[in-house]
């Protein structure tokens, strides 16, 4: 049969042509062999069985025979092959809709549980440790300052640059201060901090709770009758509700500082001029509008992070998936909520 393993297809083709009832293979001169050879024999044996050909393996090394025997020793699970066949379009659509329905149901259940927990908190009956709250607050507040500083300073710079290009054409450079001030206070400050927190803290929440799920720590809480939502979700949510507005305010100031740097260096506007213009453009409502947004974003980031964590499966790869889901869900919900709030502000003239 040659020096190397012959191709199974060509052997089968020849066998088909011959229409034989018995096949003797002589293995006396077999030199070096490996699993590929055993696979060849295994497939050949299968073919012979289905075509009623008697296969005799003569003088083959005992090891090959042993491996062959072992490979056919276990019964093949009939329904074992996972259903890989593609469903028809409508069935697939239906299945996706069912999955979506189930996910929505779990999400709403979770939100409901969080509401009940918050009520318990208001009545002073929720069980969580204050130390946990302080730790999470420290983690998602002061520790996030460096990245918030960098990002919001740059966002302020970018806004000022874009504005300066356009406004310069009309000689209205001074209005860059209005653009940056309003842009940061009403929109970008809240949104950028929320997005940073979704990537930083939301993902951390999801992976913390996810690994607790893998480790059965959440089961241990449940069997003791301690609500995991009270114990784990509440402190995280409270921490973000408190810290995100503070970070947002800080980001607003940093953004304005970024705008100031551009104006002073490129547009020959003095520091005092810029600050007076900014002060004239902004009033307290603008900051409040941003702060309300950021509190809501805080809830959204915490909810999406904790929900993904609590729903995590029991393997380490699902912890990674949970973190990804948390960030995606967090960012999408932030942007949708921001758009909605902006429209609402517009309607109520806030």
């Amino acid at each position: 049969m040659g020096n190397t393993v012959p191709e199974l297809k060509s052997v089968i083709r020849q066998l088909d042509k011959l229409d034989c009832v018995q096949l003797d293979l002589q293995g006396e001169q077999l030199g070096h062999w490996d699993s590929r050879f055993v696979l060849f024999l295994f497939e050949l044996e299968k073919y012979c069985k289905t075509h009623n050909i008697l296969l005799n393996l003569l003088d083959f090394p005992a090891a090959t025979q042993g491996l062959l025997k072992q490979a056919s020793a276990f019964p093949v699970r009939e329904s074992g092959q996972k259903n890989k066949h593609e469903l028809p379009f409508l069935a697939q659509l239906g299945q996706d809709a069912l999955v979506f329905y189930k996910q929505t149901q779990t999400m709403l259940t979770f939100v409901g549980e969080v509401c009940f927990s918050s009520l318990r908190l208001l009545r002073g009956k929720a069980c969580f440790r204050q130390r946990d709250l302080w730790l999470v607050m420290q983690d998602c507040g002061p520790k996030a300052l460096p990245i918030v500083t960098l990002i919001s300073l740059l966002v302020g710079l970018i806004l000022a640059f874009v504005g300066a290009m356009q406004l310069k054409m009309f000689g209205a450079q001074i209005y860059v201060a209005n653009l940056v001030g309003l842009g940061m206070a009403r929109e970008m400050g809240a949104m950028m901090t929320a997005i940073i927190m979704a990537g930083r803290t939301g993902a951390a929440f999801a992976s913390q709770l996810g690994s607790m799920q893998v480790n059965e720590e959440i089961d241990a809480l449940k069997t003791l009758g301690i609500s995991p939502v009270d114990f784990l979700v509440l402190p995280r949510m409270l921490a973000l509700i408190f810290m995100l507005p503070l970070l947002c305010l800080y980001a607003d100031l940093m953004g304005i500082l970024g705008g100031l740097m551009v104006c002073v260096t490129l547009l020959d506007i003095s520091v005092v001029e810029y600050l007076i213009q900014t002060k004239g453009a902004l009033d307290l409502n603008d900051f409040i509008a941003g702060l309300i947004k950021s509190s809501i974003f805080g809830v959204l980031v915490a909810l999406s992070g904790c929900l993904s964590g609590m729903q995590c499966g029991r393997s380490s790869s699902s912890v990674g998936d949970a973190a990804t889901d948390a960030v995606v869900a967090g960012i999408v919900s932030i942007v949708v909520a921001d758009a909605t709030l902006t429209v609402v502000y517009q309607i109520i003239d806030f």
Binding site: C127, D132, L135, S211, M212, N215, E216, E217, D219, A220, L221, K222, T223, L224, G225, I226
Partner: protein, 249 residues
């Protein structure tokens, strides 16, 4: 006749449409060390989750001292569950808490004891499992065997009526496994606690088990019931015999 502590009637366990085990009928008596055994993937741990009310049965009923677990209010169910101590396979210690805090948490939650006394109780429970001196350690800082023992100390925190063990000897060296077996026996001996152990570790199940059921993944139901030693001597089912007589010449 010993009092029945937990009774399982016609229990079917399933994940969506996939049936894990069906028609399980058995009783766990007070003071027994009840073993749930069977090969990998037969649904031992899932049965444990059902007994702990972490998962609702697809069919059938579970009674705790004649109270149907899923026909009582959630509050009552929680109260029943609070009388259970569980040692999870991995210990499941809360990773952000020290060993002492792990044991103190249920005590703080469910008793009005002063902080000093809670500290003392946590010390006592750690002493029972030989972990005095590790009060301030976090779970990540101790070995696997110690985590299991700390898990047992936490399970003992509220002086439970029933103790559940999920594969207590998995991942332990023979010496530590023996130590844990002795601990289980001494707890049962001194406190009279009902103990349910999920395991497939033969030395362990012969050493401690007074009653058992055998779950079969092929027929998807229990195929034997009785004391493990008695099953080895008398059970005629070849699957059970093969399982129990591994290594016995």
């Amino acid at each position: 006749m010993k009092q029945v502590h937990i009774e399982v009637k016609d229990l079917t366990m399933a994940y969506d449409d996939f049936i894990i085990q069906q028609q399980l009928n058995f009783s766990i008596h007070k003071g027994d060390i009840f073993i749930v055994m069977g090969g990998n993937g037969c649904g031992k741990s899932t049965l444990l989750r059902h007994l702990l009310a972490l998962k609702k049965p697809a069919q059938g009923e579970i009674f705790y001292q004649n109270k149907n677990l899923w026909q009582i209010s959630e509050q009552q169910r929680k109260k029943i569950m609070r009388a259970n101590g569980v040692m999870y396979q991995s210990g499941a210690l809360w990773s952000s808490l020290t060993l002492e805090e792990n044991i103190a948490l249920p005590l703080k939650e469910y008793t009005d004891l002063p902080a000093e006394e809670i500290k003392g109780l946590a010390y006592l429970k750690l002493a029972l499992v030989g972990l005095v001196g590790f009060e301030e350690y976090y779970p990540a800082e101790i070995s696997g065997g110690m985590k299991k023992r700390a898990g047992l100390a936490r399970a003992l925190a509220l002086d439970p009526d029933i103790l559940f063990f999920d594969e207590p000897s998995a991942g332990l060296d023979p010496e530590s496994a023996k130590l844990l077996d002795d601990l289980i026996l001494s707890i049962q001996d001194s406190l009279g606690t009902t103990i349910v152990v999920v395991t497939h570790d033969l030395p362990s199940l012969f050493a401690i088990g007074t009653d058992s059921i055998f779950l079969d993944p092929i027929t998807k139901t229990m195929i034997a019931q009785g004391a493990p030693k008695k099953l080895l001597a008398e059970c005629s089912n070849p699957v059970v015999q093969r399982f129990l007589s591994r290594g016995v010449k």
